[in-house]
């Protein structure tokens, strides 16, 4: 009789695994109550590639023009699942930044809306000696966290349009279920959209800029990098689409399936809203850590503030 392995391709089992990961983060925190910890000087590989990536692509497009242009077509209404996350630095514990991570998964199918909120979850950040500030460390942790949720959702999404709040080229690997899942990564503040959006027609239109492979070319599949104006007179965004060859259909389906706010998918905007840490959540997380886990949190020393306030106007 063989050992029965849990099928991670079901959502329930996926969340069970996630739960145990979150519990391991808490256990790591608890160890700090008793142990004298040294520094953890690890993890300096991932830098913010976004701007660099955008600028390279922009140069190429300005030199060669769009690879392909298309209008938004009449799309098919599909289930839309949006994922977004946020991070807040709660303080320092044992010399390491203590973060709070939170994510939201919003699912729209016709008029039905469902939301799953994950967190706030406390997590100790790895210390990155090369990171210019603890903010960067926090962003790296956020990307790891988001990627974990995104992978979990992608594996189990079925025939759905997945919306992520980031360019897909930045993802190390992404495996999607083979039953018609499409992933669209939307970047709001892309240099590409700012510069190339003007070239798009005011009516709904899209332009293919490039085909790219994700950071891990062995695991990941090809991605279409596009600039898109989903709604007439709406804003233009960078949108990365996977599978790469279905970029026109996928973005047309998105325009047909979701409400658009200034051209931005409402489901992703809702995921953004539900994933933000409110002030109350930050205070509550600190209270839980201090009162229930007995941790002592120390705020980061604001040298500028300490030296110059109250006369520093910033």
């Amino acid at each position: 009789m063989g050992v029965k392995l849990a099928d991670l391709n079901t959502l329930e089992n996926g969340w069970l695994l996630f739960n145990s990961i979150a519990e391991s983060w808490v256990k790591e925190l608890l160890r700090l109550r008793t142990e004298e910890n040294g520094g953890f000087l690890l993890n300096s590989f991932a830098n913010d590639q976004l701007v660099e990536d955008d600028i390279v692509l922009l140069g190429q497009v300005e030199q060669d023009g769009f690879k392909e242009l298309s209008a938004i077509l009449p799309g098919t209404k599909r289930r839309v699942v949006a994922v977004d996350g946020s991070v807040v630095q709660l303080g320092f514990v044992g010399g390491r930044a203590l973060l709070s991570l939170k994510a939201a998964i919003v699912e729209r199918e016709g008029r039905s809306l469902r939301v799953k909120v994950v967190g706030p979850l406390p997590k100790l950040a790895w210390i990155d000696e090369n990171a210019p500030s603890s903010d960067t460390v926090a962003l790296l942790e956020l990307r790891r966290f988001e990627a974990m949720i995104q992978r979990l959702v992608a594996r189990t999404a079925g025939d759905a349009l997945l919306l992520f709040d980031m360019p897909l080229t930045r993802m190390a690997d992404l495996t999607i279920s083979g039953d018609g899942t499409t992933v669209v990564g939307i970047a709001k503040n892309s240099v590409l959209a700012t510069h190339l959006g003007r070239s798009l027609a005011r009516s709904g239109s899209l332009a293919l800029l490039a085909r790219r492979l994700p950071q891990d070319p062995i695991v990941g599949a090809e991605i279409s990098v596009t600039v898109v104006r989903l709604a007439p007179n709406g804003l233009a965004f960078r949108a990365d689409v996977m599978p790469a060859d279905r970029w026109v259909e996928s973005l047309s389906d998105l325009a047909a399936s979701d409400a658009l706010i200034s051209g931005y998918p409402e489901t992703l905007a809702m995921a953004h809203a539900f994933s933000r840490h409110s002030w109350i959540e930050v205070v509550a997380s600190k209270a839980v850590l201090e009162k229930r886990l007995g941790l002592k949190l120390v705020d980061e020393l604001d040298v500028r503030g300490a030296v110059l306030l109250p006369f520093d106007g910033r």
Binding site: L113, V117, G119, A273, W279, V288
Partner: protein, 479 residues
């Protein structure tokens, strides 16, 4: 709970929702290193939490969702809920370090401990151990020595519980050994001798119910010159010149032992005097006789020996049921009673009495109010005034009042009237009085160490007849 900020005598404390089981008037103490500040809760507001509007809007938008699921292994949500609903408890400084509130010391916002103080604990600290204890509320035992010899006011709107407290107080005083006289204007004290289940109450042996004109009449010949003068002058408005004429005739007939209404009236008609004086005297005498409160016949007269109602060795509760008397009869009787009590007290024939007067403005002359605070209590008449019209009691009474019991009151001008004349600030009264539940009182004065204290008056299970009488009520009761 943590001290948040202070402005003047007002302190704001931050409390999470689980601390919010506070009630208006509750006492809190903020302590630090042996020093303490005593605070009284006068209001509770929502805390102005940063980002609250965004948070509520997000929550509101969640109602459009078919399903909202949360993965929250740390159970942060329970704390979030509590912070969202956090409160600002508004309190007034009542004492600092057991001194007055002008001492410049404040507890630390972070290290001071805030805890609730039960009324019983508070009273133990601010009032000496009662020599003659009477229980008025749960944990509230007052020394009725602070009621006898004092002016006590009980105010509140209709059916707020004033009469209930006055019955508890009157019964307690009588049981403690006081001479209690009740002017029962609504006939609601007459059944205090019975419990609601029909059994005899603890005051049944001490109680005597008298109805003037019915089982309490006074022989005309037994009236002293002073009592007659008070009744004729203050109750019937006889001018002084006419009074002198009447007294001459009154003394003459009494000296000859032929004093009765008929002879007095005959004398008025026959003796030479100014015609207008004659007419005034004749009218007043006929009116006095028509009240039925006074009689010629020594045998018919009952209860004329007022002094016998007050034995020196035990307390007594004498209820004069004046509910069925006309306005004139009430005025005449009350004037007689007060005048006679003064006489007996001045002659040391009885021990001091505590007089309970409900809606006294309906039957007491205006000059009586000054008497209350100048002469009466020195003579030995302590007064407990009960009213639902606080402005019917003059300001000078409030300012001299030793104890004030305030029940629910919603009329702003009534509350302002109290605030103007008492040592309690308007904010406290405006916050507390409209929100007091029925039967709960805000007490202030000697009995509670001059701190405003809120408590629910005990139910002594006495049969009370103070409810509003309605035909529909009777029909419903009888099916």
């Amino acid at each position: 709970m943590k001290v948040f900020r202070k402005s003047g005598d007002k302190v704001e404390l931050l409390a999470l929702s689980w601390d919010a089981s506070l009630r208006l008037g509750d006492y809190l103490v903020a302590e630090e290193d042996g020093r303490r500040i005593l605070l009284q809760v006068i209001d509770v507001e929502y805390a102005d939490v940063p980002g609250l509007m965004e948070d509520i809007l997000r929550d509101l938008s969640g109602s459009a969702f078919e399903e909202v699921e949360r993965l929250d292994p740390m159970d942060v949500l329970s704390v979030i809920r509590s912070i969202r609903d956090s409160r600002v408890v508004v309190a007034k400084v009542r004492k600092v370090n057991n001194a007055e509130p002008d001492v410049l010391w404040l507890p630390s916002r972070y290290t001071s401990k805030v805890r609730r103080v039960e009324v019983a604990e508070l009273l133990r600290e601010v009032v000496p151990v009662p020599k003659v204890p009477v229980k008025l509320g749960e944990g509230v035992v007052v020394d009725v020595m602070n009621v006898e010899g004092s002016v006590t006011l009980i105010v509140g709107r209709k059916e707020s519980g004033k009469s209930h407290l006055s019955k508890v107080l009157a019964s307690g005083l009588a049981r403690a050994g006081c001479n209690v006289v009740v002017l029962d204007v609504n006939g609601e004290y007459v059944s205090l001798g019975r419990r609601r289940n029909g059994e005899r109450s603890e005051v049944s042996e001490l109680m005597k119910v008298l109805t003037p004109g019915l089982n309490y009449q006074v022989q005309l010949a037994s009236l002293s010159d002073e009592v007659l003068a008070d009744v004729m002058t203050y109750a019937l408005g006889l001018p002084q010149t006419s009074m002198r004429e009447l007294l001459k005739l009154f003394r003459d007939l009494r000296r000859r032992s032929v004093l009765n209404f008929a002879n007095l009236l005959r004398a008025v008609q026959s003796v030479p005097m100014n015609e207008s004086v004659r007419e005034a005297l004749a009218n007043r005498l006929l009116t006095l006789e028509s009240t039925g409160l006074f009689t010629d016949d020594h045998h018919e007269a009952e209860g004329d020996q007022l002094e016998t109602l007050f034995p020196p060795d035990r307390g007594v509760l004498v209820v004069f049921d004046i509910s069925k008397l006309s306005a004139l009869q009430r005025r005449v009787f009350v004037e007689y009673l007060l005048s006679r009590l003064k006489e007996l007290l001045l002659n040391d024939e009885i021990d001091p009495v505590v007089l309970f007067a409900e809606e006294a403005h309906l039957y007491l002359r205006e000059t009586y109010w000054e008497d209350v605070i100048t002469r009466m209590r020195h003579i030995g008449i302590s007064t407990v005034l009960i009213t639902n019209q606080p402005d019917s009691i003059p300001a000078l009474i409030y300012r001299q009042a030793d104890n004030v019991f305030m029940f629910n009151m919603r009329n702003g001008s009534d509350i302002d009237h109290l605030a103007r004349n008492l040592e309690i600030d308007t904010e406290t009264l405006r916050s507390m009085l409209p929100n007091l539940p029925q039967g709960t009182v805000l007490a202030w004065g000697k009995v509670v160490g001059r701190l405003p204290v809120v408590f629910k008056v005990i139910d002594p299970y006495l049969m009370t007849l103070g409810r509003t009488r309605t035909k529909l009520g009777r029909m419903v009761q009888h099916g």
